[in-house]
């Protein structure tokens, strides 16, 4: 009986701490949202700490009227959609031959591919290659240099390997080409794995800011993250606090932009988390 009461105390403390952690995780996100729909006066006076005050959507209208942001949003949607498509296409095509145990020189290909996980020559040589191929200031600079992620390639290859080879072999005997087998049998059967690696690619494109920053010089091509960074961080005034708050971009507008950039991610979240966890586990088991 004594043991029971101790057990409850432990359970209660544990639950309390976990609730605090959960709140600490979402609090900044709620706060940003609240600021974005509060009126300017309350924000400047610092009255908003958790819930919004003087609810209005002026900041969102302002964001939509600022030419930069809607354009950057469309750019991001395009880069993400196109980039993820190319990623999935190339990864699923490349993983197929590698998943065949008798594919010619398979061992050497695999060694060559895995080695690149250890050898990362760094920013400069990558930049020079992209520049040398004339890809800077085009979409291709964001899509092609990272068209295949080695980890995701290995995950998908392992998934293909785990599939039963019977259907494939009988299709081969019936005279189907490898292309048909891949596109009509293997890929349709790999939807869960493709969803999982596709999610990682999607998040990679949606959130990427460093590559667009170094490869794009034309500001009309900037994706949302680069514009956000210019708005939020690049003006060092916000960091040092030496500039008067009123001189900076209004906080509500900044936060409205952040919220807009998080919306697709949050909408995908319920669906995503299932595949996200699965992807991490696949990565840790097979990677």
């Amino acid at each position: 009986m004594v043991g029971e009461s101790k057990l409850n105390l432990f359970g209660v403390i544990n639950a309390l701490i976990l609730c605090c952690i959960g709140l600490a995780t979402v609090y900044p996100i709620i706060y940003i949202f609240s600021i974005s729909i509060s009126d300017t006066a309350s924000v400047v006076q610092g009255k908003v700490t958790l819930l919004p005050r003087g609810i209005n959507f002026d900041a969102y209208l302002e964001v939509l009227q600022d030419k930069r942001i809607p354009r950057a949003y469309l750019n991001t949607i395009f880069y993400t959609g196109f980039g993820t498509f190319i990623n999935l296409l190339l990864t699923s095509i490349a993983a197929y031959p590698l998943s065949r145990p008798d594919f010619i020189w398979r061992k050497y290909w695999m060694i060559g591919i895995v080695l690149t996980m250890f050898l990362n020559p760094g920013i400069i040589p990558n930049y020079l290659i992209v520049q040398g191929l004339g890809l800077t200031d085009t979409v291709w600079a964001l899509v092609i240099p990272n068209a295949i992620w080695t980890m995701e390639l290995i995950i998908l290859k392992s998934f293909y390997e785990s599939m039963s080879s019977q259907v494939r072999e009988s299709a081969l005997i019936d005279g189907a080409s490898e292309y048909r087998i891949l596109f009509n049998i293997v890929i349709p059967l790999s939807k869960p794995a493709l969803a999982s690696i596709g999610l990682f690619y999607f998040m990679g494109h949606w959130n990427s800011f460093f590559l667009p920053m170094i490869y794009l010089t034309d500001s009309s091509m900037y994706p949302l993250q680069v514009v956000l960074r210019d708005m939020l961080i690049f003006d060092d005034g916000a960091k040092t606090g030496l500039v008067d708050a009123a001189a900076l971009a209004p906080q509500a507008k900044k936060n409205a932009t952040i919220v807009l950039s998080m919306i697709p991610v949050l909408l995908m979240y319920p669906f995503a988390q299932k595949y996200f966890a699965k992807g991490i586990m696949l990565g840790s088991e097979k990677g």
């Binding site: 043991g3 432990f10 359970g11 544990n14 976990l18 609730c19 952690i21 959960g22 995780t25 900044p28 940003i32 610092g46 190339l90 095509i93 490349a94 031959p97 590698l98 594919f103 010619i104 290909w109 060559g112 895995v114 690149t116 250890f118 050898l119 990362n120 020559p121 760094g122 920013i123 400069i124 040589p125 990558n126 930049y127 020079l128 290659i129 040398g132 092609i144 068209a147 295949i148 949606w206 800011f209 460093f210 993250q225 956000l228 960074r229 939020l232 961080i233 916000a238 040092t240 708050a245 906080q251 952040i258 991610v265 949050l266 996200f276 966890a277 991490i280 586990m281 088991e285 990677g287």
Partner: protein, 325 residues
């Protein structure tokens, strides 16, 4: 001078050798012909790896040259180890080395245990809906971009409008200019890292805990073992192999600092603690166009990172676990 014996053997075995070589060549050609469709499918991947993964390694030769845009990678003059010598003898070298190492080290020792604790605590939470929802909340930040996370950090720490400084002034203290004081940089970097990654990293440990056989816990309960004791004697020992492997791999990756966040959060006043190899390479190379010098620094960093990763992988395999592949 070729050994005459070898030559004799070669001439003697010439027909046999020739036929063996041609036989294996024919075999390879047959294999290639059989796999031709697979080879076509593999071709884009092959080109990608050659151009964008091995191409840059060839591009590293500019670290030994004085690269200039007009002469290109091949045409530029060789200068040997000039850039390396310049880097190693400059004050920047030790500064960057110390900063990279300490940011990596502090992220590891503070950031590593927290996901384990979180996973264990979540597992002990017996109310299922609560466990599910807290777990879901904690890995939400993993979906946010580094720009958003950095901007949240800047917002919360802002001396004029940040909540933290409001709290500090409300308690009657002087406000702190967090982002321009060097002493605060590491704390800010590591703390925001933990906030953003703990839920995501707990997933692996939660899965490992889920894999522990329930019969162990039942047997312990029958023997009158309390929950705390079965936590101590069953859960933690069963997690040890996962913890060990993760620790080794994390150590191997220690020098891979999240330089994007450093780039977003540092200011010239905090360079002395915040500047790491990658951010220095970015500034020297892409901002100041010192490509060769920056490539030399990047190459040094890549070499150290590779050695650490390879040894971590080696140790992890020795320890009976899986390596990176």
């Amino acid at each position: 001078m070729p050994n005459p014996n070898t030559e004799k053997i070669l001439t003697q075995n010439k027909p046999a050798l020739a036929s063996r070589i041609s036989a294996s060549l024919i075999g390879t050609l047959k294999h290639m012909k059989r796999d031709r469709q697979l080879l076509v499918l593999f071709l884009p991947c092959l080109i990608f790896y050659i151009v964008f993964r091995y191409g840059p390694m060839f591009g590293l030769t500019i670290a030994f040259k004085d690269y200039n845009v007009f002469e290109g990678i091949l045409g530029s003059k060789w200068v040997g180890l000039k850039h390396f010598i310049k880097f190693f003898s400059s004050n920047d070298f030790w500064l960057l080395f110390r900063n990279t190492l300490s940011l990596g080290f502090f992220t590891l020792i503070f950031g590593f245990p927290i996901p384990i604790l979180l996973a264990i605590m979540l597992n002990e939470l017996r109310v299922k809906w609560m466990r599910k929802s807290i777990q879901t909340l904690t890995y939400l930040p993993a979906f946010l971009s580094v720009v958003i996370i950095s901007s949240m950090v800047i917002d919360f720490l802002s001396p004029s409008s940040g909540l933290i400084n409001k709290l500090i002034t409300a308690l009657g203290f002087e406000k702190i200019y967090f982002l321009i004081i060097p002493e605060w940089f590491r704390t800010i970097y590591v703390a925001s890292d933990i906030w953003a990654n703990m839920g995501y990293e707990a997933i692996i440990y939660l899965a490992a805990i889920a894999g522990i056989s329930p019969t162990l816990y039942e047997a312990a309960r029958v023997d009158g073992c309390s929950r705390l004791r079965s936590l101590w004697y069953i859960t933690i020992p069963s997690l040890m192999p996962t913890i060990l492997i993760m620790f080794i791999l994390k150590t191997g990756n220690m020098l891979r600092i999240g330089y994007e966040k450093v780039l977003l959060l540092y200011t010239p006043t905090t360079y002395e603690v915040a500047d790491v190899f990658s951010t220095y390479v970015y500034r020297k190379g892409l901002i100041e166009s010192n490509y060769s010098y920056a490539a030399a620094v990047g190459m040094f960093e890549a070499l150290i990172a590779m050695i650490m990763l390879l040894s971590a992988n080696f140790i992890s395999r020795k320890a009976g676990g899986k390596g990176l592949w």
